[in-house]
């Protein structure tokens, strides 16, 4: 699997002055940022939801389905974010990440393992040399309610442990009260603390209330140098939905049109079935473009999704339905 180094390099360019003048101008100060974000085109809610629903009806069969299942497996960020997580549980997860289905060694490994920062070290040790990323949430996940020093220390802890990807949460309180500059600065500061690690910015769309806000938050994160924009923490309902992911895919597509850089999208939370996953892949293909159909630019934040993908994969190979007794418990 190709590493994400190109995206990181491109993202660094963006901050150091690569983007066109209107984007540089946008992040100059609070006022220009507000002007830029509020000048983004408004979203036709009915049209968006209908488009998402129509694309979701597309039927994917046979070889295309088999391809989609393997692609989706390689895009899974296998996640455990529980208060009850232990090093043992993380080790079980990394074993599953390396070889998702022991009976079928040709199943591709997952994209990354996603854990809390104090357990990132365990995952890094287990996954050394496999090419599977270690993502760590940081910045007072999931609420993001703490001060800048704590958030940066949280990030530094994960980076020191060897995490290759950092999933940060934005300050939704600041965003919703219109203090965009604060949110932008914070993302930039965390980005700086990340070093070589990829930065995924969690917008927590379930708390942003409107699609217009999702579009603004997406652009804000992209302006600040996010390598990925991620829908949710998985702790708030609703988590990822198709329409919200559409909006975010539009943002990265338009960002690419403006700057030539590819940034990624990660829907997370509530994606449990193969059918759902394939719907997301269709959306990626149709909204952003085929270039995004790679784990470098599209990920699923999920835990139970992987088992369903494996069961469906077996169904395709063996010709009969599989059951939960035939895949590992996680």
């Amino acid at each position: 699997m190709p590493s994400g180094s190109t995206t990181t390099a491109q993202a660094t360019d963006a901050v150091s002055g690569g983007p066109p003048p209107e984007l540089t101008e946008a992040s100059r100060d609070e006022t220009s940022l507000r002007r830029f974000l509020h000048a983004l085109p408004g979203i036709d809610q009915v049209g968006l939801e209908q488009r998402a629903a129509t694309l979701a009806t597309r039927s994917v069969k046979k070889d295309a389905k088999r391809w989609a299942i393997d692609a989706a497996i390689s895009m899974v960020d296998l996640t455990t974010l529980e208060g009850a997580d232990t090093p043992g549980k993380v080790r079980a997860l990394t074993a599953k990440a390396r070889r998702p289905d022991p009976e079928y060694p040709d199943v591709p490994p997952v994209g990354a393992v996603c854990v809390y920062p104090d357990l990132a070290g365990v995952a890094v040790r287990d996954l050394a040399g496999t090419g599977i990323g270690v993502a760590s949430v940081a910045t007072a996940f999931p609420s993001g309610r703490s001060n800048r020093q704590v958030k940066l220390a949280d990030t530094a802890m994960a980076v020191e442990a060897g995490a290759t990807e950092i999933d940060m949460v934005i300050d939704r309180g600041a965003f919703l009260t219109g203090r965009y500059g604060l949110v932008l600065e914070e993302i930039q500061a965390v980005k700086a603390a990340c070093g070589d690690a990829h930065l995924k910015v969690i917008l927590e769309t379930g708390e942003l209330a409107t699609y217009d806000n999702v579009r603004r938050a997406s652009w804000l994160a992209l302006l600040a140098g996010a390598d990925f924009i991620k829908t949710s923490t998985g702790k708030v309902s609703p988590a990822a939905t198709l329409p919200v992911t559409h909006v975010m895919l539009q943002a990265v597509r338009d960002w690419h049109a403006l700057t030539g850089e590819h940034r990624g999208v990660k829907p997370a939370g509530g994606i449990r079935g193969t059918k759902d996953a394939i719907r997301y892949l269709v959306a990626v293909r149709e909204v952003a473009g085929p270039a995004w159909l790679t784990p470098r630019l599209f990920r699923f934040g999920a835990s139970s999704l992987l088992n369903d993908l494996l069961m469906q994969r077996r169904r395709q190979l063996t010709g009969h339905y599989s059951g939960a007794d035939y895949v590992s418990v996680d």
């Binding site: 010709g319 339905y321 059951g323």
Partner: protein, 290 residues
């Protein structure tokens, strides 16, 4: 006679406590024994079957974990509701099986009585089939029966109500959840039973009823890895061996091996055969004196 138009019904499947249409959108004509039109029934597909298995699996922990007393109460309440719909069942059995009304009445009565009989078994199974085992050692060893899991029932093709009750009731009385493929030619009593179950206290998913062609559905049911046992009494005879082989692939219990599609005389006392068939025996060795 009034010139009122007959209301021709189009029935639905019963999956997870809900009444969905078939995913395939197919329906087929159901005729009475003389070939007259009765109603439209959904022709379930393998995907409907898959949904039914998912629903049954989901319902299993709740139903198998309920106390035997509670299961008995729920089943007995269903018998009460069957009694309330007696006339409807008599009419449907008469039309489906082409028997005289008197005979149909006797069959329905017997079906209700059998439901009550199985309802009574729920809290007696452990005492009758379990044991305190005399063992040569300082241990207390005892055996308890536990439900097998999700049972796929290929319901009898001929006996539309009595046969159906005689296959479904023992499976759920023992604490299993079921996926039932109804008789293709005579599905209406089964559909009415599902409507009774849908409004009873039976938790959704304990019984899931798919109408359609057993020839199409049985192989998928027998091979499904999340089904723990199958009852082949309503299976197409010609598929018997194939179904057993498919079931062996995922180590299922098979009831009616070697006699697929052969219906017994349902009016005879059923004995404990089917209750026993879908139970597993768990034996516990306990150090004595603790």
């Amino acid at each position: 006679m009034s010139d009122r138009l007959a209301v021709a019904k189009t029935y639905k499947l019963y999956i997870g406590g809900k009444f969905p249409r078939s995913e395939s959108g197919r329906v087929y004509r159901v005729n009475d024994a003389k070939g007259g039109f009765l109603a439209n029934a959904p022709q379930g597909s393998r995907k409907d079957l898959r949904e039914a298995v998912t629903a049954a699996r989901k319902a299993f922990p709740g139903w198998s974990g309920a106390t035997a007393y509670n299961r008995g109460q729920v089943l007995y309440r269903i018998a009460e509701m069957l009694e309330g719909r007696r006339e409807q069942f008599v009419a449907e059995v008469t039309a489906a099986e082409g028997v005289p009304a008197k005979r149909a009445q006797a069959l329905v009565d017997q079906a209700i009585d059998r439901w009550v009989w199985y309802a009574g078994w729920t809290d007696k199974l452990a005492t009758v089939l379990g044991a305190a085992n005399p063992v040569a050692g300082p241990y207390f060893s005892f055996t308890v029966p536990e439900p097998t899991g999700v049972v796929g029932v290929l319901a009898p093709q001929d006996s539309s109500l009595l046969g159906l009750v005689s296959t479904v009731a023992p499976a759920i009385a023992a604490g299993n959840t079921t996926v039932v493929v109804a008789s293709r030619e005579r599905p209406l009593p089964a559909i009415s039973l599902s409507e009774v179950l849908g409004t009873s206290d039976l938790p959704g998913g304990v019984v899931n009823l798919v109408t359609g062609n057993a020839v199409e559905l049985a192989p998928w049911l027998a091979a499904h890895a999340d089904v723990n046992a199958v009852d082949l009494v309503g299976a197409p005879e010609i598929l018997g061996t194939e179904l057993e082989r498919a079931a062996a692939g995922t180590v299922k219990r098979v009831f009616g091996a070697g006699r697929a599609g052969q219906e017994p005389d349902w009016t005879r006392p059923p004995g404990m055969e089917r209750l026993r068939a879908f139970l597993e025996h768990k034996t516990v060795w306990h150090p004595q004196g603790v």
